[in-house]
């Protein structure tokens, strides 16, 4: 995992997990790695992963079954999507909008580009 500098590490780990859920690598109601396992896997401080899990729990993306471990919520996909959508609209979109404006890319040009990109994705599938 590559860490960037704009977000605290614990939120980058939250994104990493949301992506796993949204791409269905980790399935709803499935058990996920323990705090320590994920910390070793990502080479980060276990306290940081614990914070990420606390945050994910507060967003109802994962649940804590005492003594057993952490699981993706039954509606994990929906919750993860909700969280990532908000993040995209509040933080990522303004940056994208700024670049589009700077490069004079109009909405309909962007629309065409997005359609082409979608086709490419479907073709690859």
């Amino acid at each position: 995992m590559n860490f960037n500098n704009n977000q605290p590490i614990y939120l980058q780990i939250v994104d990493f997990i949301c992506e796993k859920i949204l791409l269905a690598v980790w399935k709803q109601e499935e058990k996920i790695p323990s705090v320590r396992e994920l910390a070793v896997q990502l080479s980060v401080n276990p306290n940081t992963v614990a914070r990420s899990y606390d945050f994910l729990r507060s967003q109802e993306i994962i649940t804590d079954k005492r003594g057993i471990g952490y699981f993706i919520s039954a509606n994990g996909i929906q919750q993860a999507k909700q969280y990532r959508r908000n993040l995209f609209i509040e933080q990522e979109l303004p940056l994208l909008a700024r670049t589009l404006h700077m490069l004079d890319i109009a909405p309909d040009e962007l629309d065409q580009l997005l359609t082409r990109y979608k086709q490419k994705l479907q073709y690859e599938k």
Partner: protein, 281 residues
């Protein structure tokens, strides 16, 4: 818990540390940053009882390092920058030294050595400088002492071993253990630290948790209009700036930039933390 109170230390007539007051809690990884020769190693040696302070007090879980009680010595492990070993085999070393550490785990030791790609049946003298360091780091992690002091642990390690070390440390730490790492290679360890302490000219000029730093400071590529810039430098993406954080979001932390900023503008930065300060002594 380790508590230092107004600790001062002088080598001959050179004052190395002056009035250092700090607390280190279990379950946390502390990064001790500072230029060469500001007293990082001295501070570690004082906490492990290898040097004695001229003024002030140090207690490690209630005992004074200077007295070197067996119960104290069992609970600390110090990995110096340059490792020294007697001319014996690794197996003999373990046989001779492991009994001093009741929590020593041979299984963990082998796991660490394997991660560092060192065979168990080696003569220590046949190892290179870097390999000796990895051997000592492996022993230190396997000793499972509640207090672990690492002086420049990644110095002399190759790229793969640095990565291995970063993977091994998260497996070692738990809520009963306290790790203090002195380093000037901040980028190596930035994902592992809970807390950053910065020494300058023998004084502790900054000490905050990463969490507090990401709340109070904003590391950005462009300062908000009107924000007071605490530190700035040009980079490929324009200008990297450090300001107070009023964004409502926690910021990512760039330790190298924080370090430079504290060195040039420490007082202002500390003021930002002042109203949230809760020093527990």
């Amino acid at each position: 818990m380790i508590a230092l109170k107004e600790v001062s230390f002088t080598y001959n007539k050179t004052r190395v540390l002056e009035g250092v007051t700090e607390v280190f809690n279990p379950g946390q990884i502390y990064g001790l940053l500072g230029d060469n020769g500001v007293g990082k190693t001295t501070l570690l040696k004082l906490m492990t009882g290898l040097l004695f302070p001229q003024a002030g007090t140090i207690t490690v879980q209630g005992s004074v390092p200077q007295y070197r009680h067996p119960s104290f010595l069992r609970s600390v492990f110090f990995v110096p920058d340059t490792a020294f070993f007697p001319g014996i085999t690794i197996a003999q070393y373990v046989e001779g030294y492991a009994p001093f550490y009741p929590q020593f785990s041979k299984k963990q030791f082998i796991h660490c050595l394997t991660a560092f790609n060192i065979g168990y049946d080696n003569d220590i003298e046949a190892l290179s400088f870097g390999q000796k360091k990895k051997l000592l780091l492996s022993f230190a992690l396997a000793a499972n002492t509640p207090y672990l002091f690492l002086d420049e642990p990644t110095n002399g390690l190759d790229i793969l071993s640095r990565a291995a070390f970063k993977e091994l440390l998260p497996g070692y730490i738990d809520e009963t253990k306290c790790v203090i790492i002195s380093t000037h290679q901040v980028n190596d360890l930035s994902n592992l630290l809970d807390h950053v302490s910065i020494l300058r000219k023998g004084r502790l000029i900054f000490s905050q948790s990463i969490e507090a730093i990401s709340r109070q400071l904003l590391f950005g590529n462009e300062a908000a209009p009107g924000a007071e810039i605490l530190f700035a430098e040009d980079n490929l993406r324009g200008r990297a700036t450090l300001t107070g954080n009023n964004s409502g979001y926690p910021s990512g932390v760039n330790l190298e930039m924080l370090y430079k900023a504290v060195m040039t503008n420490g007082e202002k930065i500390n003021q930002l933390f002042a109203h949230t300060q809760n020093i527990a002594i």
